[in-house]
């Protein structure tokens, strides 16, 4: 096919797809018609009815023919995949080229227009400033044009690459299998569709061999962004052991999950049951060496018996030296070990309700998500998004148990769903540090803007993996700063239900519930009357109605007080330093006489006296003047990026109660503070607490959230 630099997508993809189809038909004919007929004939040749020598020879000939036809069918099948991939690449290149042409043409028109305008203005006096702006614009547009040149180069390289792969494959390299064609290809330049088509031509053994050899391929696969296409590819990897159990990995899938867990553990499109296998494998790979160190040096986790515990001190020093040899400091090791322990304790909590470890990205910070319930079979999946201060070490276990509370509450109140639920504890973004650390991250939307796309990917990953319509069967329950993250995400991707608890504020860019891709009838918000923390994130404050036993006139509060900027003028000062006279008095030194013995007698020196005169020094008077100084002090007022309270009627969300309620003689506690689960927190810290949170078991807000996250908005069941 003839193509050019500015037409890198030239060619007819449909005819390529047609060629691929012809090859598939040939394969079909061979596999389902020719070969079965030959086998039938072979059976006759081997039967007792035809036992002559000619029958034997005929049988041998047919065996040979069947043996030859197998590779021919494989060759056709491979060629078909190659042609599909080539066609997909051309479609992609056509699209990219059309888009680039449009931008390139527009930029050239801009340059012509600006140059003409400049020519006209150049003759007109007093237009220097305008001319400067036009020059600047011309410069910027020319830079754009320069970038487009590079992009044309890139498309040219991709077309050359696609041609090379296709030609080499069809020229016979295919007979060596897909490995040869993929082995030399710069995988990173292929589109997702083309890569997946080529991967589909590999056996699991070939793919394993390539992954062992090529880190770029591993990260390319881990970054595939089309869950539905990934799902289609993954499901064709090997034959299932049990056709009625689609979620037990095939041997081929199992091999990939075990050897490359970091590639497949977070890949949207493959079943969550499989991601769980991979992420547990990756976690064990990382945590086992840390546990081995603790087994060898238990002093790392213990304290000396007393000041004189020399044995402990020596052992501890040896342990720290061993850590340093392994590339750790004591604090970095303990941080990593405690994080691992938190994950292990969380996963160990699994009993009959399945836990799935669906995100595990070790790093700084480590990101993780654990689903309570099977995401592959659930008919409703709720993603719980935590707020400030959430980390895997501090929050994963507590947040997973809170998710379990919600799962159980959903199970209790549900009267419709057949196949069950999943509630995900999603520590999937870099949460702002606690304000007490101290940090002002929580009043900015920066962490939320960085985290929202990850939540979008996660939700859309569920949709693509489970083959659902966008937003279908998805709920989001968010707490505190998690509402800031989740609202930004749900402005980009849909969900059925959105429940906000103790919101730290919605970003100014989402001023109304109508800006969310959620039916406004299913957007609900709540803030407990004793939650004084949520307000701070929005730039508001309130006090309890009682402080230290003193009743205040109702709850006080309002916007944070503002402090104006300060300007101070410090006038210059003239300082006169008067003249000074200093007299240094003279000094007299007496040197006593000395008598020395000389032959025949002695010789005496007389006493000797030396005096210096007194000296008088005078300085002139000096006058020093400092200049006038202006000082501007910016006010310490903070910029609040997410000031919107979703429980305000102006926002448009429905509001539900997080207060305690006595219903039918049973008391359901309300949330006593800002936390989601002080009861769970106390359990984990071996203490007791008389406080309840939004997601503690048996609370009114939990029961309300359970209904709302299942889409039940009936006032008869909300309290």
């Amino acid at each position: 096919m003839t193509w050019s630099r500015f037409d890198p997508g030239a060619g007819n993809p449909n005819s390529l797809y047609g060629m691929a189809e012809l090859r598939r038909r040939a394969v079909d004919k061979l596999e389902n018609d020719v070969i079965p007929r030959l086998r039938t004939a072979r059976a006759v040749a081997g039967s007792s009815e035809w036992s002559s020598e000619s029958g034997f020879s005929f049988g041998i000939a047919i065996d040979s023919a069947i043996q030859d036809l197998g590779p021919i069918a494989d060759q056709h099948e491979y060629d078909a995949r190659l042609l599909d991939a080539y066609a997909a690449e051309l479609v992609y290149l056509k699209g990219e080229a059309a888009s680039l042409h449009a931008r390139d043409d527009a930029a050239r028109d801009d340059v012509h227009r600006l140059v003409r305008l400049r020519d006209r203005l150049e003759e007109t006096p007093g237009t220097e400033a305008h001319l400067q702006r036009i020059d600047s614009e011309i410069h910027e547009v020319r830079q754009d044009l320069q970038r487009y040149v590079s992009q044309w180069d890139s498309l040219t390289v991709q077309r050359e690459q696609a041609d090379r792969i296709c030609i080499s494959g069809l020229s016979g390299i295919a007979s060596q299998g897909g490995l040869a064609a993929l082995g030399g290809a710069p995988i990173t330049t292929l589109s997702d569709a083309a890569l997946l088509t080529l991967l589909g031509g590999l056996t699991a053994a070939e793919l394993l061999a390539l992954l062992r050899d090529d880190d770029a391929l591993a990260s390319r696969i881990a970054g595939l962004g089309d869950p539905a296409a990934v799902s289609a590819w993954w499901n064709l990897l090997g034959q299932p052991k049990d056709p009625y159990d689609p979620f037990t990995p095939t041997p081929a899938q199992q091999a990939l999950l075990e050897e490359f867990p970091e590639v497949f553990g977070n890949l949207d499109g493959i079943p969550y049951t499989h991601r769980d296998i991979a992420n547990r494998e990756a976690f064990e790979d990382g945590f086992t060496p840390l546990k081995d160190i603790i087994d060898a040096y238990p002093e790392l986790l213990t304290s000396p018996y007393g000041v004189g515990d020399v044995g402990w001190m020596l052992a501890h020093r040896e342990a720290v030296e061993a850590l340093e040899a392994a590339g750790y400091t004591l604090p970095t090791f303990l941080a990593e070990y405690n994080e691992g322990l938190a994950i292990q304790n969380t996963l160990d909590g699994e009993a009959d309700i399945p836990y799935q470890f669906v995100i595990y990205v070790p790093g700084d910070p480590t990101l993780a998500a654990v689903s309570v319930g099977n995401m592959d079979t659930a008919s409703q999946i709720t993603t719980n998004v935590p707020g400030m201060g959430s980390t895997v070490t501090k929050s994963l276990q507590e947040w997973t148990l809170s998710a379990e509370n919600l799962y159980m509450a959903q199970s209790l109140v549900d009267q419709d769903t057949e196949s069950g639920f999943a509630v995900v504890a999603w520590i999937g973004y870099d949460a702002p540090k606690m304000a007490t650390e101290p940090s002002l991250e929580v009043i900015s939307s920066d962490n939320a803007r960085a985290g929202a796309p990850k939540l979008v990917d996660f939700l859309e990953g569920i949709t693509g993996t489970n083959g659902w319509a966008p937003g279908e069967n998805l709920s989001v329950v968010a707490h505190s700063y998690g509402t800031t993250v989740a609202s930004l995400a749900l402005a980009e991707t849909p969900a059925e239900n959105f429940v906000m608890l103790g919101s730290a504020g919605i970003d100014s860019s989402i001023p109304s519930v109508s800006d969310l891709m959620v039916d406004p009838a299913h957007v609900w918000a709540s803030e407990a009357s004793k939650d004084y923390i949520a307000d701070l994130g929005r730039g508001e404050w309130q006090t309890p109605a009682t402080i230290g036993g003193i009743n205040l006139p109702g709850t006080l509060g309002g916007p944070m007080p503002t402090v104006p900027d300060v300007d101070i003028e410090i006038p210059g000062v003239t300082v006169a330093i008067p003249a000074v006279n200093v007299t240094v008095p003279g000094v007299s030194v007496n040197i006593p006489g000395v008598t020395l013995p000389v032959p025949g007698g002695s010789f005496s020196f007389p006493d000797f006296s030396v005096s210096t005169p007194s000296v008088s020094i005078g300085t002139p008077s000096i006058s020093v003047t400092t200049p006038d100084v202006s000082v501007h002090i910016d006010s310490p007022n903070l910029e609040y990026d997410h000031p919107i309270n979703p429980t305000d009627s102006s926002y448009g969300a429905h509001v539900f109660s997080s207060e305690g309620a006595t219903v039918g003689g049973v008391y359901y506690p309300g949330s006593d503070w800002h936390s989601t689960s002080p009861q769970v927190d106390a359990q984990l810290n071996n203490t007791t607490s008389d406080q309840y949170g939004y997601l503690d078991a048996n609370t009114n807000p939990l029961t309300n959230a359970a209904h709302l996250s299942l889409g039940v908005t009936d006032p008869a069941v909300l309290h």
């Binding site: 292990q344 160990d348 009959d352 379990e404 199970s411 209790l412 009267q415 003689g665 359990q683 071996n686």
Partner: protein, 142 residues
């Protein structure tokens, strides 16, 4: 009370509740959870059982039968109507009622035509939840 006794107490109760509604029941228990008992480390077991629904019109009678069973066991529940608007009757049983139970023990049952669900949590008893959970995982993986 040993944690094994505390767990058995609730297991027996939920098994008896399930026996009042014939059909297939699904056991969906959670793992052990830590708690504090007299300043020591304790453990308790949240449990969930999902069973079939009852014939419309039988909700109250079934709830009464389960209520009697709980009362006989020393856990007299509060029974109330939880019927959503426009839906078949759903009856809820709760032990304890207002005031709670300082051991952490509770039982809740929802009786409806789509399903009957029983949820509970055992008393806090001495034990190490993380250790119990870890040992269970180890034995399941052996």
């Amino acid at each position: 009370m040993q944690y094994t006794e505390a767990r058995a107490e609730l297991t027996d109760l939920l098994t008896a509740i399930a026996a009042t509604v014939p059909g297939e029941w699904e056991k969906v228990d959670a793992g052990a959870r830590p708690c504090s008992i007299g300043g020591s480390t304790g453990v308790q077991f949240p449990m969930l059982r999902r069973g079939p629904g009852v014939i419309d019109g039988q909700q109250e009678a079934t709830a009464e039968a389960i209520g009697q069973l709980l009362t006989d066991a020393g856990f007299a529940p509060v029974i109330r109507d939880r019927t959503p608007t426009g839906s078949a009757v759903v009856v809820e049983l709760n032990y304890p009622g207002e005031g709670g139970d300082d051991t952490g023990f509770f039982v809740k049952v929802m009786v409806g035509t789509a399903r009957v669900t029983a949820q509970g949590q055992s008393r806090c008893a001495e034990g190490d939840a993380n250790r119990i959970n870890h040992d269970r995982q180890e034995s399941e993986n052996d």
